[in-house]
Amino acid sequence: MSSMQRLLGAAAVTAMSAAVASAEPAIIFDLGGKFDKSFNEAAYTGAERWAEETGGSYREIELTSEAQREQALRRMAESGANPVVTAGFAYQSVMDQVSPEYPDTDFVVIDTVVDQPNVRSYIFSEHEGSYLVGMLAAMASESGTVGFVGGMDVPLIRKFACGYVQGVKAVNPDATVIQNMTGTTPAAWNDQTRGAELTRSQASQGADVVFHAAGGTGIGVLQAAADEGILGIGVDSNQNYLHPGSVLTSMVKRVDNAVYDAFVDGTDGDDQFETGLMVLGLEEEGVGYAVDEHNQDLITDEMRASVEQARQQIISGEIEVHDYSTDDNCSTS
């Protein structure tokens, strides 16, 4: 009996301590995993930066199957974590359904838009960043053929593809862009073998620069590109270091900034968490291309100059990059 009481007591203490630490933010990583060297890892970097700077701690869950999606979100909301950040577009419907049930919790979605009063939605202008790396690809290509490997065939990835094609065509209107998607299920985010085969297939069709927007699958893409002696382009995180000299650049998407900002805003204690849509584009430095010591020899000054010029023109509105997600159509490809 007494041991039972002690157990209950202990449980009560744990429950209380959870309530005290209620300001802890939380993040849910999507399938593909925290260390996918890509999207989720960028989110993780942002969370870690927050933890390092503030000395705070945060909760995290890594999804391992589609079935955990709703359960994980509810568990985080019920544990008192605030704000709860979810990384990945696949959270849209679940978030739309779950967030009204926890009106006191602030939620953040990345890469999708959820129209609820307590949800902040971050989207990135991937088409603009992809346009810039498309230009670089076309300038680096000697064959006039470049490739694109997408992960799961969803509008978000088509948005990357569409921006990329426009960038390629802006430099070389006669260029051919070979586009492939890895698959139609979430498994397409994590299939290195298939990514590598797609890349080899594109190389055999003459492509000498291949851009991937495929999460973990992209590791296979970049590996195969390095093996075939062609150039790869990374995505989301800066992936230049994976195969120095064989990765032309990376289309970086500052998911880390989104997570960091959300954590900062959500834990500063002023009860004011701005919700609604936030778009991070070239101007906000939400997207861009990465140049570092691993690829500086691949990118000439001329290439850089013309991309920088295009960047300014996009920001000023002189160049308008078509956004696939606005009309589900990409007329240029």
């Binding site: 925290k34 260390f35 065939d153 994590n190 290195q192 073998t193 298939r194 297939s201 195969h243």
Partner: protein
């Protein structure tokens, strides 16, 4: 589709068929001895992990290969212990092995490398590199045969050739040696083998260990030949496709080669031709990706005739007292 497109397609077929072929032959040995093995997937996975992990740590792909094979052998022994010694249900033991491998690989990878269930990317001597067969470059300009020899036959990793060589070896062992005769007999009628004074247990263990060796090679090929490192669930159902190919091949080695090449070709086609225009009708990509599975059902339902498994398959042997 022209000739220039066919060669890379066949090249890709060969690469994709290799792990299937090794796993299929592994299943063939095991099932011919009367031990159903649904755990091919798990054994490939554990081997893929240990080969990549060891290669990453030691920098030697050969040590990696040995570690991978050792891992698969250990899992084979678990399967053998459960289904031969303790006469457990072979299917359940196989499923358990798949789950165990799926969880264990990610767990250990996370603990050793802390990179989300992956091993670091392998480079240089930590991977199997392509072997150029002799005269490949010299013969390149010979019409027809030159490109075939240079592009298709040459330039694969050693495990591809080992897999192809394993087919005649398997055929010879099974159908031309005393051991093979006994192995086939133990899968059909273990009591008869026992009566002849030959150990059923010993034969079945040997078959299960050969199965472990071959799945070990398959897994190592995936992680250190085809790819450069281990990734979570990287076998992606290949063990099950190998099982389907085994039934399709009616438990025969040469047919197994054909069946796995067919599955490899279908996968390669699905990867290369995501949408196919056929007589003015556009076939959508998802259909192409589903094609191998649809074909499996269609072929098994009617075209191969009856596929009769070894008669004693799945049943533990209980010695009469």
């Amino acid at each position: 589709m022209d000739v220039a497109a066919i060669l890379p397609l066949l090249d890709s077929t060969l690469r994709l068929a290799t792990p299937l072929l090794l796993a299929c032959l592994a299943g063939l040995f095991s099932e011919r001895s009367g031990i159903f093995d649904i755990g091919l997937e798990g054994k490939m996975l554990i081997s893929a992990f240990f080969s990549a992990a060891t290669a990453a740590i030691t920098g030697s792909v050969w040590l990696g290969l040995m570690a991978g094979v050792a891992g698969a052998l250990a899992f084979s022994l678990i399967h053998g212990l459960a289904s031969i010694t303790f006469r457990g249900n072979q299917l359940i033991s196989g499923v358990a092995i798949n789950f165990l491998a799926s969880g264990l690989t990610v767990l250990i990878a996370q603990d050793w490398f802390s990179s989300g269930g992956r091993t670091p990317a392998l480079a240089g001597p930590a991977r199997f590199s392509a072997i150029d067969l002799p005269f490949a470059d010299a013969l390149r300009d010979v019409p027809v045969l030159g490109p075939i020899y240079h592009d298709l036959v040459s330039g694969h990793t050693i495990l591809v050739y080992v897999a192809l060589l394993a087919v005649p070896v398997t055929w010879y062992v099974l159908f031309r040696t005393r051991y093979g005769l006994r192995l086939r007999a133990v899968g059909e009628n273990p009591a008869a083998v026992d009566t002849a004074g030959i150990s059923v247990t010993g034969l079945r263990y040997s078959a299960v260990l050969i199965c472990g060796l071959l799945t070990g090679l398959a897994g190592a090929y995936l992680a250190t030949g085809l790819n450069a490192g281990f990734g979570r669930e990287m076998t992606a159902g290949r063990g099950y496709i190998a099982l389907a190919a085994l039934i399709f091949a009616k438990w025969r080695p040469w047919y197994a080669l054909m069946a796995t090449l067919l599955f490899g070709l279908l996968e390669a086609v699905a990867i290369r031709y995501q949408t196919v225009d056929l007589l003015g009708v556009t076939i959508p990509g998802p259909f192409m990706q589903a094609l191998p599975y649809i074909l499996t059902v269609v072929i098994l339902a009617g075209f191969v005739g009856r596929a009769i498994p070894p008669r004693a398959g799945g049943a533990p042997y209980v010695k009469e007292r």
